[in-house]
C-alpha cells in the first residue's frame, strides 16, 4: 500500500493532537496512492476506544467520491500501546475492503503500521511511504 509522507505526518499529528484520547479517520487514495487523510470525530472520546459517527462517515465517503478519491483505509491511534491491532480492533474490523492503519505514540518516536484483518487473521501490509527520505 502506497501512502505519501505528508499523509503519514498528518495522521501522526492528528494522533498527537487528540492524545491522550484515541484519534481516528479515513485514508483516501487517488491513482493508487493514499494522499488524503480525513480526520473523524471519536464519538467515544476515550483513551482506549474509538468509534466514528455514521453520519460523518457517509459525508466523508460522499465527499471523497465527488472529488475522485476512494476510501482505502481507516486509521486510529494507540496513545499508549504498540501499532498492532488489539483484540477489540480485530473483533470490530468488519469491513473486508479496507486496510486498518494504526499510529502508535507509545514510544519515543511514533510508529505507523497497516494491517489486513479477516476474521481473526491479521496480516501486516507493506506500507510504502512516498516522499520519505531514504
Amino acid at each position: 500500500m502506497k501512502i505519501t509522507k505528508e499523509t503519514v505526518d498528518e495522521i501522526i499529528a492528528h494522533g498527537r493532537a487528540e492524545a491522550p484520547l484515541e484519534a481516528c479517520g479515513y485514508l483516501a487514495a487517488k491513482d493508487g496512492i493514499i494522499c488524503r487523510s480525513i480526520a473523524m470525530r471519536n464519538v467515544d472520546a476515550s483513551p482506549v476506544h474509538y468509534a466514528m459517527d455514521p453520519a460523518e462517515q457517509f459525508a466523508a465517503v460522499r465527499n471523497c467520491r465527488t472529488e475522485g478519491f476512494s476510501i482505502r483505509a481507516v486509521y486510529h491511534s494507540h496513545p499508549e500501546s504498540d501499532a498492532y491491532p488489539s483484540a477489540e480492533d480485530i473483533r470490530l474490523a468488519y469491513d473486508p475492503g479496507l486496510s486498518y492503519v494504526i499510529v502508535s505514540l507509545a514510544g519515543n518516536l511514533p510508529t505507523v503500521h497497516s494491517f489486513t484483518i479477516t476474521g481473526e487473521t491479521v496480516l501486516q501490509d507493506h506500507l510504502e511511504i512516498i516522499g520519505a527520505e531514504k
Binding site: 481516528c24 482506549v48 468509534a51 466514528m52
Partner: protein, 70 residues
C-alpha cells in the same frame, strides 16, 4: 431495474429486492454492523426487510467503525 449503490450504477436482476436482500447480494456478512442510507436518509435495520427498492433509488451503506487499544 437500475439503482445506485455506493455511487455506482447497478442493474438488479431480481424483480423485488429489499435492503436485506441487497446486502446479501453485496456479500455483507454482518448486516447488523452496517449503516444504510436510502436516498440520503438513514434506514433502521428493523426496516430492511420491508424496504423494497425502486428504480432510481440511491443506496449507500458502510460499516460502523470502531476499535480500541484495550
Amino acid at each position: 431495474m437500475q439503482i445506485t449503490v455506493n455511487g455506482e450504477t447497478e442493474e438488479l436482476q431480481e424483480p423485488a429486492v429489499n435492503l436485506s436482500r441487497l446486502l446479501e447480494l453485496r456479500r455483507v456478512e454482518s448486516p447488523e454492523m452496517v449503516a444504510v442510507q436510502l436516498n440520503g436518509e438513514f434506514v433502521d435495520m428493523t426496516n430492511y426487510p420491508t424496504t423494497f427498492l425502486q428504480a432510481g433509488d440511491d443506496v449507500d451503506f458502510l460499516y460502523f467503525m470502531g476499535g480500541g487499544s484495550s
